[in-house]
Structures are given as C-alpha cells and as structure tokens.
C-alpha cells in the first residue's frame, strides 16, 4: 500500500551557503560563551586565588 505521507516529503537539495552561515553564527556564539566564561568565571577565580593567603601556624 502506498503511503501518501512519503510522497509529499520534499526531496530538495540544501543550499551549500547555508552551512557557512550557520557555522559562522555558531562560532560567534561559542566565542561569546568563552568570553563570558573568562570574565565571569575564570577571571574572578584567578583574582580570588591570587588574593587568598594561606595562614601558616607559627
């Protein structure tokens, strides 16, 4: 029995330019996440560890 739902499925070729556009945006998002991570998480952690002093018992 033929399935009309399979017949209506489009079989068009995906434009190659689209990949470039998607990957550029993904790279930008990744960069934004990394920069945010650097300044919001890593940088404060570094400063905190620099300022922390180990109190030694005399």
């Amino acid at each position: 029995m033929s399935n009309p739902f399979k017949e209506i499925l489009h079989q068009e070729k995906l434009p190659t330019m689209l990949k470039e556009k998607v990957m550029n945006d993904i790279s930008f998002i990744k960069l934004a996440i990394d920069v945010a991570d650097l300044f919001v998480v890593k940088y404060p952690e570094t400063v905190e560890s620099l300022l922390k002093t180990n109190k030694k018992k005399l």
């Binding site: 998607v22 990957m23 945006d25």
Partner: protein, 187 residues
C-alpha cells in the same frame, strides 16, 4: 580533538555527547551535515518559500547548538531531532499565521461528521490533496501525523516525544486522522 579519531565513525548519540562536553564547532558541523538536508526538507513542508525554509533551518540549528544538552538519550537522537524540528516549525507557523487558526476553527465544527478513520483510509488519500489538507490543519495535528506516517515513529516513541500515555497518543492520532478526513472531503 585528536586527529586519529574519525568523527564520521561516531554514532549520533556519541557525537552529541562530545559536542555538549567540548562545544566544538567542528563536531557540530558533522551533526549539521548528517541532519541539515532532512531538517531543510521538513521545513519546506511548513514554510511558504525556499527562503523561509532556509531561515527556519538556520534558526533550528542555532537553537539546537544551545539546547543540545537537554537531549538525555531517552530516545534515539533522530527521533529527538525530528520532534525538535517539528516543535520549532509548529511554533513558527502558530506565531505567524492567525488565518490558519480561523480555518481550523471552521472545520472543527464539522469534525463529528467523520468517525472512525483508520490507517487504511489515510493511505488511500491522494498526495496532492493531502498536502493541501496539511497546510490547513492545526500544525500540532500535522506534527503527530508526520511523525507517525512520514518518519514512521512507533507509538512508544511518540509517547516519549509527547510525554503522554499510550492511549493519549492513540487518541490524538485518531482525532488528527478524523480532522484530515473532514477537511479532505470538503476540498
């Protein structure tokens, strides 16, 4: 990424796991290559033009990159991906088209005329006319019908996708088939 590891040998699920861990865009490019043609052709079923389908595909993959960590592996990745795509398209259509809603409301009053439509009746429909029916019907009904009859998901897989019981899935399918038949007969 070690050069000795071949990305194309990864299963979809392993690939997703690695992307979530590393956020590596090279890995995401592989996932794009595997799914973009399917996603694009599914979007064509919801969009009015090729340009609109391209935009939808673009937006789906951007959202996918951000939401990939929500894939918990309870179903196959392909199943999850199709549901993700349809959900995005359904939201898009509902946001942009109040006209469709008007038409559906008009048809809903006639629903009771068609009763007990089974799969055999659905498979007898003419593809061209069915395409028109699916452009009128509520996109949520369109989604469940496409998942069942185009992507051939089992009832169990549909249960995981919609997070509802087996009887609820069957009921939704039955109602969707009845709506299709009601509109089909009117065309």
């Amino acid at each position: 990424m070690k050069p000795s590891v071949k990305i194309d040998e990864f299963s979809d699920e392993d690939l997703v796991k690695k992307i979530v861990e590393t956020k590596e865009s090279v890995l995401f490019a592989e996932l794009y290559d595997r799914y973009a043609p399917k996603v694009y052709n599914k979007c064509l079923g919801f969009a009015k033009s090729r340009v609109e389908a391209e935009d939808l595909t673009h937006d789906i993959f951007i959202k996918l990159y951000m939401k990939l960590h929500t894939f918990k592996g309870t179903s196959k990745f392909s199943t999850w991906m199709y549901s993700f795509t349809y959900n995005f398209c359904v939201n898009y259509v509902q946001r942009n088209s109040y006209k469709i809603r008007e038409k559906v409301q008009q048809v809903e009053s006639d629903e009771n005329e068609v009763d007990g439509v089974d799969e055999y009746d659905i498979f007898q429909l003419k593809a061209k006319k069915l395409k028109r029916v699916l452009s009128i019907i509520d996109p949520k009904d369109k989604m469940i019908l496409l998942l069942k009859y185009q992507d051939e998901l089992s009832i169990k897989e549909l249960q995981t996708v919609f997070e509802i019981s087996e009887s609820a899935v069957k009921m939704r399918l039955k109602r969707a088939r009845e709506k299709v038949m009601a509109i089909y007969k009117k065309l």
